[in-house]
């Protein structure tokens, strides 16, 4: 015997199913939510008030899958590049946040540039990124631009290291320059740059904090566990999204972020900079490269098995 919509017992069940359907994006719920609810109620024993675990798992997995598929709209090239640009812009802001008390204007302008990138306001984001980038490069090089800034810039929170103490001016130039290049890159098939999630702001403390320590403190280019955890989690999520959607935009975003990181580190390790990478750096870099490769290969594998 299956549940009907009238009995008081099933109204509890229906309410619980409705809560589970929140796993699906709103447009999908509006279009098909009642249809799914009908089938769920017809498929469930009338005396149940708690949804069977199998249905709970199916709805949560189906909802997440549908949400990810809904994210994969528009031009792959433009959206994938915008994803990578957003990640690098957020990392650039996170690099300044611990020093906000010393350089409040530039941190605020950097936050505005991230806001513009997130909202897809390309022509607002570009001048802001250029302005903050010029100042950042100047600080990294010990030069004065726009206003007098005492260098080195010491932190107020989250880290104990001076601003850009591990970065050469050329590395900072790459980090900001590629954001501008990414924003300017034309999409082969046009399309608009869409707004991205507000959740990107939540990434900033993880990227800005230099703890918990993983590498020897005195080592050049320390990578914190909080940063590692976030980068690995986001890239793993990108690989899952690529698997579910058979779409290459996540791979493009990860490759852009990885390219900025790799180019920056490579420039830093040129002989004149005297920086030597540890086996931990290489292992972590290999892991990021592996995850980026997975974001590209999983959609291709899935395309051959298009029905599953």
């Amino acid at each position: 015997m299956t549940a009907t919509l009238e009995s008081p017992v099933t109204s509890v069940l229906e309410r619980r199913y409705r809560k589970l359907l929140l796993a699906y994006p709103r447009p999908y719920r509006q279009a098909h939510g009642d249809e799914l609810l009908d089938v769920l109620m017809e498929s469930t024993d009338a005396d149940r008030t708690i949804p069977p675990p199998r249905e709970v798992a199916g709805l949560v997995a189906g909802g997440i899958r549908t949400r990810v598929i809904h994210l994969a709209g528009g031009s792959v090239w433009r959206d994938g590049l915008h994803l990578g640009v957003t990640a690098v812009a957020v990392a650039n802001l996170a690099a300044l946040v611990p020093y906000a008390a010393a350089i409040p204007l530039w941190t605020a302008l950097s936050a505005l540039s991230v806001l513009a990138v997130l909202r897809g306001w390309v022509w607002v984001a570009i001048p802001l990124t250029v302005a903050v980038g010029v100042k950042a490069v100047a600080v990294a090089g010990g030069w004065q631009v726009a206003e007098l800034t005492q260098v080195p810039v010491y932190p107020g929170l989250l880290t104990g290291r001076a601003l850009f103490s591990d970065s050469a001016p050329v590395t900072v130039t790459v980090a900001y320059g590629l954001v501008v290049v990414g924003l300017l890159a034309p999409a082969p098939r046009g399309g608009v740059t869409r707004a991205r999630s507000w959740w990107w702001w939540a990434a900033i403390p993880f990227l800005a904090w230099d703890g918990p320590a993983w590498m020897i403190e005195e080592h050049n280019l320390p990578i914190s566990l909080s940063r590692m955890g976030l980068e690995l989690a986001l890239m793993a999520a990108a690989a899952v999204a690529g698997y579910l959607t058979r779409d290459l935009r996540w791979a493009l975003g990860c490759a852009f972020y990885l390219a900025v990181t790799v180019v920056g580190v490579t420039l830093l390790t040129l002989p004149e900079n005297g920086v030597i990478l540890s086996s931990q750096h290489l292992a972590y870099g290999a892991l990021l490269a592996l995850l980026t490769a997975a974001t590209a290969l999983l959609p291709l594998r899935q395309r051959r098995h298009a029905l599953d």
């Binding site: 098909h32 799914l36 249905e55 997995a61 189906g62 029905l307």
Partner: protein, 110 residues
């Protein structure tokens, strides 16, 4: 299904369920259980995920929509591509099964 196959067991039974005519979601669930002799029981979220993907791939399509108790109900129909796909898969499995069943029968009568 096995490695190298393009259709999972769940997808195979969903397509097979539609071979006799268009069905709505709950009817597909029941038909899949019958055809698989209780082996394949799809969760509703899993079924609709599969129906969305199969519709996107063009192997099934929405035949019609009805309003029942004030709520929309879609009927899904298998397309010619879908019918060809499930028939090819059945033939492939038949040939694969014959490799083993032929050997077993041969051993029985030898």
């Amino acid at each position: 299904m096995s490695r190298g196959s393009s259709v999972s067991e769940q997808t195979y039974f969903v397509l097979a369920a539609l071979l006799d005519g268009p069905l709505h979601g709950h009817a597909i669930l029941k038909r899949v259980v019958e055809l698989s002799q209780d082996r394949v029981k799809l969760a509703v979220g899993t079924l609709y995920g599969a129906l969305d993907r199969l519709t996107g791939s063009g192997v099934i399509m929405v035949e019609k929509e009805e309003i029942v108790n004030g709520r929309k109900r879609r009927y899904f129909r298998i397309t010619d591509d879908g019918r060809r796909l499930v028939e090819e898969e059945a033939l492939r499995m038949q040939q694969a099964a014959a490799v083993v069943t032929g050997r077993t029968l041969g051993a029985t009568f030898s």
